[in-house]
Symmetry: C2
Subunit: 206 residues, 2 copies
DNA sequence: CTTCGACTATTTTACCTAACAAGTCGAAAA
DNA sequence: TTTTCGACTTGTTAGGTAAAATAGTCGAAG
């Protein structure tokens, strides 16, 4: 067994942890449970991850990488900025639905998660702001979008999308959310980005 | 003393209750405290209001009347729909800042308040939706605004404004909020309504 | 009609303790 | 050397209990 790659064992632990954290939340999951899930004793977990917090941070780190990578891939494709924004909004909802732990960071359903791991949320925001800002800048550069201050607009869009998410999940924490709730969020988000794009898009000549 | 108008005593109790509820929240305030504030014994409060809940509902009722009345007054004035919307957004922030108990209903800072008094929040939403819808309809009627579905757009605007509020006050409950927080909310809200109006406003001929 | 002292019933709080959970260590196994 | 884990320590949490607090009541007084 000593010829196993350590990274493989880490991945197994991360997957098990990710699953439990997503379902029960950080504070309700015990290291004993995760250890049992992967067929180890608890002290063995600490061989790979020095603290429960660091395990959770690793889980978040992985989810954030996937989130960012998927969005970046999408944004790399040649398309008008408006189309990218629309796709971004929908993809964002889908990704947050899938990456439950990452999603919970921004929704503040768990108070202790938000205060201890607030830096993680801040980092996610900064990354999203960068991506969104780039899209708006590109749209302005091609003349597609008419923007006075793309950075401010990107920030606003993020705040508004965040607000919609927070209000939506204020009474039910993922994954205990009904499909209708996601449908409502998508409807609002799509409608919103349509309207915002209408206000940002340079008018073609009459 | 028995010639005093009962309504005057009720108003005194309501004012004292409103002040305490706003500062400490529904559950932390005792009927003994309110009684002492108005110079009565606790059983005397129950002479005017049969339960603590009904006292709180009366407080909310009064705040909601003021909220609705002020906004209605403003909307009655002759002005373009866009200007009304802008003024509405700013006035909304100011009123919620002043009417702390009403504000808390929508922000869900107190879990028990939200579940017991959720019907009050729903009623407020319905009233706002009516007002906003009327503004959008009028703007569409004059040709100022270009809208496919004014009711849907009114609902979206309310959801988005609510989301901005919820995310803003997720970590500090009014009245324990700093001025900078209000300034940020106003900035986002103004910027948002500007952009939305840009998307809704019928373009003048070039 | 209005007020309130005394009271009841329920809820909340404070306190205590056992159980639980994060983390550690030395030793064994691989 | 790396990986694993039984036994352990330390701090936190959960549950139970009694006391205190609070919503609400009632009869009597003004």
């Amino acid at each position: 067994m000593q010829q196993d790659q350590p990274q493989a064992k880490e991945q197994v632990i991360l997957a098990a942890a990710r699953k439990r954290f997503a379902y029960y939340g950080f504070s309700k999951v015990t290291m004993d449970e995760i250890a049992s899930d992967v067929g180890l004793a608890k002290p063995s977990l600490y061989y790979y991850f020095p603290t429960k917090e660091k395990l959770f941070r690793a889980v978040i780190g992985h989810e954030q990488e996937k989130f960012t990578r998927d969005i970046e891939l999408m944004l790399k494709k040649e398309a008008p900025a408006g189309q990218k924004l629309r796709e971004y909004v929908d993809m964002r909802i889908r990704l947050f639905r899938e990456l439950v732990n990452l999603s919970a960071l921004g929704v503040q359903s768990w108070a202790e998660v938000s205060s201890i791991f607030g830096d993680l949320f801040t980092r996610l925001e900064e990354q999203e702001l960068k991506l969104l800002h780039a899209v708006l800048l590109a749209g302005k550069g091609t003349g597609e979008l008419e923007l006075v201050n793309p950075a401010q607009t990107a920030k606003l869009i993020l705040h508004v999308l965040h607000g919609l998410r927070v209000r939506t999940f204020s009474t039910a924490r993922p994954p205990h959310v009904e499909n209708g709730t996601y449908a409502d969020l998508k409807k609002d988000s799509d409608h919103l980005i349509d309207l915002l794009l209408k206000g940002m898009t340079r008018q073609s000549s009459h």
